[in-house]
């Protein structure tokens, strides 16, 4: 367990390349309403083969930002074969499983169902309609792909996270680290190790909660 003090304050920015800045601006600024808040016009940057570029930022709330690089003269081919599955950053062959292709994504938080449905309305009226709306365990999300092929999620919590879920998450991770430290990790081994940790630690946790810690 770590007791390091927690000094970070959310996401400053997450950055991706784009080869279609016009559609990217349309999607984030004009459809979703994310303001443009910063841009850098950079020429003669870094090593000789570095193209001139525009680095531009959209406000995604909470003073966090999503940013893009547009490289003048760069070809989309640098991300892989054109037409292959994936996004402009990384393209994948036909043999790569779909779950893997879709695993990387950005999820932006909204406060409630009303706000989630407002973004659904904006996307559905655009060239990038919502592809899925899913209630997971305790969150509800809408998904689409942005003009660059990046999977884009907006999500809301259906209820607040409880303290016991934080305990459960820590037991899961401790069990996972034990199981991946041994040969041939499996889901069954994880559940067995976690059961042991529940017996070892869960009762004490309840006492600690009861005493108000």
């Amino acid at each position: 367990m770590t007791e390091l003090d927690h000094r970070v304050r959310g996401v400053d920015h997450v950055a991706f390349p784009t080869f279609d800045p016009a559609a990217t601006v349309r999607f984030y600024r004009d459809v979703l309403g994310f303001p443009v808040v910063h841009s850098i016009c950079a020429a003669g940057w870094g090593p000789e083969d570095h193209p001139d570029f525009i680095h531009f930022f959209f406000d995604i709330g909470n003073e966090d930002r999503i940013a893009f690089f547009y490289y003048f003269g760069a070809s989309e081919d640098i991300g892989g074969a054109k037409g292959a599955r994936g996004d402009v950053y990384a393209r994948f062959g036909a043999d790569v499983p779909e779950f893997f292709v879709r695993s990387r994504h950005l999820a932006i938080h909204v406060e409630n169902e009303e706000d989630l449905l407002e973004y659904r309305r904006r996307l559905d009226a655009s060239d990038w309609p919502v592809e899925m709306q899913v209630q997971h365990e305790t969150i509800e999300s809408i998904y689409t792909h942005d003009p660059n092929g990046y999977m884009f999620e907006i999500t809301r919590a259906m209820r607040p996270v409880t303290p016991q879920e934080d305990l459960d998450a820590n037991l899961t991770i401790d069990a996972l680290l034990d199981v991946v430290g041994e040969p041939e990790p499996t889901f069954g081994k994880l559940l067995a190790r976690k059961a042991e940790l529940i017996v070892e630690r869960a009762a004490d946790w309840e006492l600690a909660q009861g005493s108000g810690r």
Binding site: E137, P163, D168, L191, A192, A195, E196, I198
Partner: protein, 82 residues
């Protein structure tokens, strides 16, 4: 002996409730978890729980080493002595 653990959060409580309807099954507590156990096999019917799939497939917190999951699909969760 079959034993599984399910975290006590609102989405999961129907799992423990449905399990407890079997007189051979005991539902106790350990910390914030339901401890669901039986001398033999535990079977929980998914439709009876009313759980959404995302909840259903992530409801199991742990399974004791003397037990194993032999079914966990859209119909039921079955835990048997190993």
């Amino acid at each position: 002996m079959s034993t599984l653990y399910v975290l006590d959060v609102p989405e999961n409580t129907p799992v423990a409730k449905v399990a407890a309807e079997d007189p051979a099954v005991t539902v106790g507590r350990i910390g914030p978890y339901f401890e669901i156990s039986a001398a033999g096999t535990i079977v929980i019917d998914r439709r009876a729980t009313g759980c959404r799939h995302a909840v259903w497939y992530s409801a199991v917190g742990g399974v004791a080493r003397d037990s194993r999951i032999t079914q966990h699909d859209k119909d039921a969760l079955r835990v048997e002595p190993a």
